[in-house]
């Protein structure tokens, strides 16, 4: 499904996104699977309630049976009966750096996933297709971490204070200046935790009487921040500009709900790359809409900073726009920089306001200086300030890896969602039975993947999400692709009806003949 050309002149290069729908029988089978699971869930609950089976879930003490119930059993029906059966595919403990390969602790269960025990062995060199390590900065190379070790020995690990009290170190000031220079804005502010950056700063920017227009598939941190602020929230369909424009027009025409006064502020919350879909935001159209209707734009570049753009500066650079177009640029250092924390960047007035009014700035502990140094060295590497072209090479390698991986998966016939340039690759599995089978078999082949099901995704669209990294070599990607090919045939996952021929050589030959 190609993008329409209604705003054809806004995009400087092709914007191709895929959201192919599977044939109808797939949805039918998915519901059959859920129905069988639900029936057996009821059966097991019945047996547990009547004492035919041992109860492993939390229950009140005998003396408190007459009190108001603490544990509402039915709400956890899904967790207890369906999630529990495949629980061994999540929360797997790892015991090495999450680079392109990592080590897993071997974990077995004796009572069907109620409890786990560690055998003491580790599974070595599992290919990592789940970590957000886009540029490969999660590394343990001694030369790379030289400056980080120096700073660790100089400052120690803890800051023991908040930014406003005694927690602002010279490292933070240096980092903020560097982030502002990297993004091309006036000023920036860094926080210790990426989730807290969103959820604590949106309440500082908007309040009652303001309107928040948030994308359907926004991350929980944005949703939490929006709800905490007390503003009115309206949702527009995912990446759908007609829906957003309609909401904007309605907001301006009708104003606030009962008084019909004008809204104090209208702010649009979007993300750069959506982590469950792999789609990239339509930034040129949103910016033109925001300029037309005088709204503000808050762009969360958690997954896109460092991962897209010619020099890794995010979606703003990817679309060839200037950072002045976006009012609040937010991002995290967890994904592409191998550290932890988040930043908010923009005009100096905005950042000065946030320094005094944001909850996170006032009350949260500031970033550890060793982590700040890791971000500084990663950013200097990306910008080329350390004298090498390693940063640019990493960005190019990520781009190449992404294109190769996506092209091969399309050719094999899997259904892949998202933009052709995004390093987040969701592969659709659909049926609940296949979620568990896929993750377990991939681990047997020594590949670690992340699978997601309901409720993080719609009920019929469970998926496996791959995160391509610049540190993956061609051999690793080929291993993964071969394993996927085999597994796709065995589990029957190749639902795509638009896959190219599996013999591209025949294509080329016939084209040459026609040109002659």
């Amino acid at each position: 499904q190609k993008n329409g050309v209604s705003n054809g002149t806004l995009y400087k290069k092709k914007f191709i996104e895929h959201f192919e729908q599977a044939p109808m029988y797939v949805a039918v089978f998915t519901f059959v699977g859920f129905a069988v699971g639900t029936i057996f869930g009821y059966l097991r609950d019945f047996m547990r309630a009547w004492g035919l089976e041992k109860r492993n879930i939390a229950a009140e003490r005998e003396q408190q049976k007459d009190f108001v119930p603490l544990y509402q059993d039915f709400e956890n029906f899904y967790t207890r009966n369906l999630y529990l059966r495949i629980r061994d595919n999540w929360n797997r403990p790892i015991c090495s750096v999450p680079g392109p390969q990592f080590d897993l602790m071997e974990r077995v269960t004796d009572d069907y996933n109620w409890t786990f025990r560690f055998t003491g062995r580790t599974i070595k060199n599992v290919i990592n297709m789940g970590s957000y390590n886009y540029l490969g900065f999660a590394e343990t190379d001694v030369n790379a971490l030289k400056t980080v070790t120096i700073e660790l020995e100089k400052y120690g690990t803890g800051v023991c204070s908040t930014r406003q009290e005694m927690g602002t170190l010279d490292k933070h000031v240096e980092l903020e200046k560097l982030v502002a220079k990297f993004l091309g804005v006036e000023d920036a502010m860094v926080f210790g935790m990426g989730f807290a950056t969103n959820s604590m700063n949106i309440p500082a920017l908007v309040g009652k009487g303001c309107l928040i227009l948030s994308d359907e598939l926004n991350h929980t941190s944005l949703v939490l921040g929006a709800r905490l602020s007390g503003a009115t929230i309206r949702i527009f369909k995912h990446n759908n500009m007609q829906s957003l424009e309609k909401l904007l027009r309605d907001a301006i025409i009708y104003g606030q709900p009962r008084t019909h006064r004008a809204w104090r502020k209208i702010i649009i919350l979007v993300e750069g790359i959506y982590s469950m879909e792999g789609s990239i935001v339509r930034l040129p159209e949103i910016v033109s809409l925001k300029n037309k209707y005088k709204a503000y734009l808050y762009l969360d570049e958690a997954h896109s900073i460092g991962a897209v753009g010619a020099t890794g500066r995010g979606v703003v650079e990817y679309f060839g726009m200037s950072p002045d177009d976006v009012d609040v640029l937010m991002g995290t250092f967890t994904k592409s920089f191998g550290a932890a924390g988040g930043y908010i960047a923009g005009k100096k007035d905005l950042v000065d306001f946030l320094r005094t009014h944001s909850h996170s700035a006032v009350y949260a502990t500031s970033m550890c200086p060793a982590v700040a140094e890791q971000i500084i060295r990663a950013m200097k590497c990306l910008m080329g300030l350390d004298g090498t072209t390693q940063g640019l090479q990493r960005v190019r390698q990520l781009e190449k890896n992404t294109r190769y991986f996506r092209r091969k998966l399309h050719e094999m016939g899997f259904i892949i969602y998202g933009n052709d340039d995004s390093p987040v690759v969701p592969l659709l599995l659909y049926m609940p039975g296949k979620i568990g089978a896929f993750a377990r078999r991939m681990l047997e082949k020594n590949i670690g993947v992340v699978v997601v099901g309901f409720p993080a995704t719609p009920i019929t669209e469970s998926r496996a999400r791959f995160c391509v990294s610049a540190a993956h070599t061609r051999e690793m990607l080929d291993t993964v692709l071969n394993a996927l090919d085999e597994l796709g045939d065995f589990l029957h996952l190749k639902y795509s009806r638009y896959s190219k021929s599996s013999h591209p050589e025949l294509y080329e030959e016939s084209r040459l003949e026609l040109e002659d």
């Binding site: 089978f29 059959v32 495949i86 049926m431 609940p432 039975g433 045939d489 029957h492």
Partner: protein, 77 residues
């Protein structure tokens, strides 16, 4: 690498689609026996319903082909 035999693969697909892959062994026994019982019932009902139809159709066919002193229009010229 040998690909698994066709019937085993179909059985695996059945297991995956109906989530019986995730069940504990006693649940699988229960589920399969229920399915087989349902299938058996279906086949029995089909047999019961279709057998009279089939036998009467067969009788009609026999009457066309069997007796040469039968209906005049059916005699081969």
């Amino acid at each position: 690498r040998r690909s698994p035999p066709r019937l085993y693969w179909l059985f695996c697909q059945f297991e995956l689609i109906t989530c019986s892959y995730l069940m504990e062994p006693w649940e699988k026994v229960l589920f399969y026996s229920f399915n087989l019982a349902l299938l058996g019932l279906l086949l029995y009902t089909t047999h019961l319903c279709l057998a009279p139809h089939a036998s009467s159709a067969f009788q009609l066919l026999c009457s066309f082909l069997g007796s040469p002193r039968g209906n005049a229009p059916s005699v081969v010229k």
